[in-house]
């Protein structure tokens, strides 16, 4: 049945028009036409600018009649447009008055902030026409999709094993063997690999449309082009990056990404998106007009009293996230991704910016964070904050979570790295990190699930490089090695960089296994960096944001070369997944409602029941009581872990467990494969049930279970 409000009411230069509907914002296909809707609190006039796809000049400019405006929203239906073959933009008229925060320029063609598909960078790295007056071009999209019954997986947070990846880096290297390298389709081809590894969640670095040519320059080392490779720079919040799609050149990136997500879900793998609401690609005062500064500068950005851009992001500008209008846009955006793309969760880059007010001051109860925590459409989405920014805020442990937000636990990374190196004075911290950091999150409703534990991520060294380099080597970035973190808490095991030394390499492999085993027995939510499971190296570069080459692309040949590491990581993931006691979401309480005679977590040292918490200690052991798995609702084995970061071997006295149970070795990082890790059901029995010898700089994990 046709609506009575879908026929034209007036004409303009051959175009049939009608007053539009303000909601939804953006461009929406309706029967017979397109509904355009854009808001601006301060614009005095607006024109719709239409291009044929990829043509340099528009074929039409249609002013929005004032009679069509509703409040601050310009809206119009234009009939009979060839929606697959046009691009649209806006001219926004208004004052240019920096003191008032306005930068209107009616000659600029501006992209729709709500554009769901963006052209202009259709194929990654394809040099655009730099004279084009409209570089990033909004297009019209079908946002329908046949999900065939798919819905977000809603895997409990405590059961997640997160794998952080970069779309392009994951399969771009020729060794990946995929048909469509560096794309969403490429990820699909690697689903069997992800299943084999055992991860159940991928966290994808920014997939919104961004400009890979932003700050592009030749490398002083190799001469090749350095790109905006990581993508932490939004051109459009609602559109997936065309250059990440094999079908980008056809404009089908939306369908391709959705198909990839559908396939991932079908294989039990959740998708978390890394989202960047702290700044846009428009940069500082010298930056380009892409959209926001021309549509409504004063609304979208946090400005100084003189009308300059505050720079809490380190990238030139700061999005005005707690402005009610921008808050609405962010909500609309996330709701769109959650409902139209079935996204399972979001990780918020520099999330502390989301807690700054319109003058840049930190807020106690930022309305945006609260809105996201309680939004009904986002109600089952994971929300993860990178709880710091580049303006001095560090909120790990104090990010206002409302019981819903998790955090990237930077303290976990720092403390575990230091302990792995053999530093002292860390026993207290280790005790907290292994339990899920109750010192930070005790009063958060989300308990241990608030803590996303990681030792490596895209920022910083890969795991292989963490054990191969003492210092960063970012010369290839062209900033004289000044960029990137200096405090890496890394240790090269005796030689800086690649070496043929057998003992050093053996120690490096052991240290990687130590890191993985500690990460995967800790309470909280573990996150792995893609490629660590194959010993991927970035050759000492700890800030490879601009390296679109072998430095950051995964080298899949490493899977064979470092089969030992892959098997170990795979085995540890399987171990974690099969032992629910490792995944309790509530914190340890000093009670025994199950009446089993054991606390949920007990601490030990070289002597059972007697942990050495002293400042000089480098040894710790802990035991999880299996009867307290899932807060006592499940029955699991006892799990005992001994960590010896001393350079001498130590004998660890084992705590006694119930008579019918026996200790078996699951992991011993001091032993060569295949005895470094044992599959379920094949764990190695140990003769001496009273003590184990833990090698220097080693981790052992035992399970106490019924005699085989």
């Amino acid at each position: 049945m046709e609506r009575i409000d879908t026929y034209p009411t007036q004409k303009y230069k051959g175009f049939n028009l009608r007053p539009g509907r303000p909601i939804p914002f953006g461009a929406t296909i309706i029967p017979g036409g397109i509904n355009f809707s854009i808001f601006s609190s301060h614009a005095t006039g607006c024109e719709l600018v239409l291009f044929k796809k990829r043509e340099p000049r528009p074929f039409a400019t249609i002013p929005f009649p004032d009679a069509f405006r509703i409040g601050n929203v310009f809206t119009m239906i234009v009939f009979d447009l060839d929606y697959e073959n046009i691009e649209y933009g806006y001219h926004m008229d208004g004052p240019f008055d920096l003191q008032q925060g306005h930068r209107f320029d009616k000659h600029k063609v501006l992209m729709d902030p709500y554009a769901k598909v963006i052209g202009g960078r259709d194929v990654w790295g394809e040099e655009p026409d730099w004279d084009d007056i409209y570089q990033h071009r909004a297009r019209i999209v079908f946002d329908d999709f046949d999900w065939q019954g798919d819905k977000p997986l809603e895997v409990p947070m405590e059961d997640l094993i997160i794998y952080e990846m970069h779309v392009r880096g994951f399969t771009c290297h020729r060794s990946s063997g995929v048909k469509h390298p560096g794309t969403f389709a490429g990820i699909r081809e690697k689903i069997p690999y992800l299943k084999k590894l055992g991860v159940n969640c991928i966290e994808i670095m920014p997939v919104h449309e961004f400009d890979e040519f932003e700050n592009s320059r030749p490398s002083p080392v190799s001469g090749e082009k350095l790109m905006n490779y990581w993508g932490y720079s939004n051109v459009g919040f609602f559109a997936p990056k065309a250059g990440y799609a094999a079908t980008g050149r056809f404009g089908m990136q939306v369908d391709e990404l959705k198909a990839t997500i559908k396939d991932l879900h079908r294989n039990g793998i959740e998708v978390i998106l890394d989202v960047v609401f702290n700044h846009t690609a428009e940069g500082n005062e010298d930056g380009p007009y892409i959209s926001y500064r021309g549509v409504d500068n004063k609304t979208y950005y946090i400005l100084t009293p003189d009308g300059y851009f505050y720079n809490f992001s380190g990238c030139g500008n700061t999005l005005n996230c707690n402005n009610p209008i921008v808050r609405g846009m962010i909500l609309d955006c996330l709701r769109y991704w959650a409902s139209a793309y079935h996204i399972d969760g979001f990780r918020f880059d520099l999330a502390s910016i989301l807690g700054r007010d319109q003058n840049g001051a930190p807020m106690n109860s930022p309305p945006l964070i609260e809105s996201l925590a309680f939004d009904p459409i986002l109600g089952k989405c994971k929300l993860i904050a990178e709880a710091w920014d580049a303006g001095g805020l560090y909120q790990v442990g104090s990010f206002p979570g409302w019981g819903r937000w998790a955090e990237w636990n930077g303290k976990y990374r720092d403390d575990i790295r230091k302990f792995l190196k053999g530093e002292v004075g860390l026993l207290g911290a280790m005790g907290q990190r292994i339990q899920g950091s109750p010192d930070l999150y005790r009063w958060h409703e989300s308990g241990a699930c608030t803590s996303v534990n990681f030792i490596t991520c895209h920022d910083g060294f890969t795991l292989k490089d963490l054990v191969s380099y003492n210092g960063k080597h970012n010369e290839a970035n062209g900033e004289d090695n000044r960029d990137g973190n200096n405090d890496n808490d890394s240790w090269n095991c005796g030689w800086e960089g690649e070496t043929e030394d057998v003992e050093i390499n053996r120690l490096r492999r052991k240290q990687m296994k130590n890191a993985i085993s500690i990460l995967l027995v800790s309470r909280g939510v573990p996150m792995l960096l893609s490629g660590d499971e194959m010993g991927n190296t970035q050759f000492g570069n700890n800030n490879a944001y601009c390296q679109d080459n072998e430095i950051s692309w995964l080298d899949w040949d490493n899977q064979k070369k470092n089969k030992e590491i892959f098997n170990f990581v795979k085995g540890m993931i399987a171990f974690r997944k099969s032992h629910s006691v490792l995944r309790n979401k509530t914190y340890f309480q000093d009670r025994d409602p199950e009446d089993c005679g054991y606390p949920e977590i007990s601490w030990h040292g070289i002597k059972a029941w007697d942990a050495d918490w002293s400042d000089s200690s480098r040894t710790i052991a802990f035991m999880f009581c299996g009867k307290k798995a899932k807060q006592g609702k499940s029955n699991d084995d006892f799990i005992y872990t001994a960590i010896n970061m001393d350079w001498n071997m130590h004998s660890f006295e084992l705590p006694a467990i119930p008579e019918q149970l026996k200790w078996y070795v699951v992991v011993n990082t001091d032993v060569e494969p295949p005895e470094d890790i044992w599959c379920a059901g094949e764990e190695k029995a140990i003769e001496n049930q009273f003590e184990v010898l833990v090698g220097p700089r080693s981790v052992m994990v035992l399970i106490g279970k019924k005699l085989k």
Partner: protein, 106 residues
């Protein structure tokens, strides 16, 4: 590129021959022809695509639509499609609702 398409229904099988380009301009006409078959006794829809040079999002949607409207139990075949068209079908993920084949046997 012009589209010629023909739709033929006989013995519970719908044969659709495609040529040229199937995009937003041309897809509605094909969708209208498919709509006429709703309610008929159909087991298979076979798309003969050897002369199909290009398929867009709108064209893909007509194919999905045909299965949704005629019946999700029906078998869908894509016969003789070019590598480019198959690439688009696979990358957009609609390959799992159809059987892709070089030759169709009755």
């Amino acid at each position: 590129m012009e589209t010629n398409f023909s739709v033929n229904y006989k013995n519970k099988v719908v044969k659709v021959t495609l040529a040229g380009s199937l995009d937003a301009k041309r897809a509605p006409a094909l969708a209208d022809e498919i709509k006429k078959l709703i309610g008929k006794d159909i087991e298979k829809i076979v798309f003969f695509a050897k002369d199909l040079e290009y398929i867009s999002s709108a064209g893909l949607r007509v194919i999905i639509f045909s299965k949704q409207k005629i019946g999700t139990d029906i078998k869908l075949y894509m016969v003789g499609a070019t590598a480019d068209v198959l690439d688009v079908i696979r990358m957009s993920g609609i390959d799992n609702i159809m059987e892709i084949t070089d030759i169709y046997e009755e």
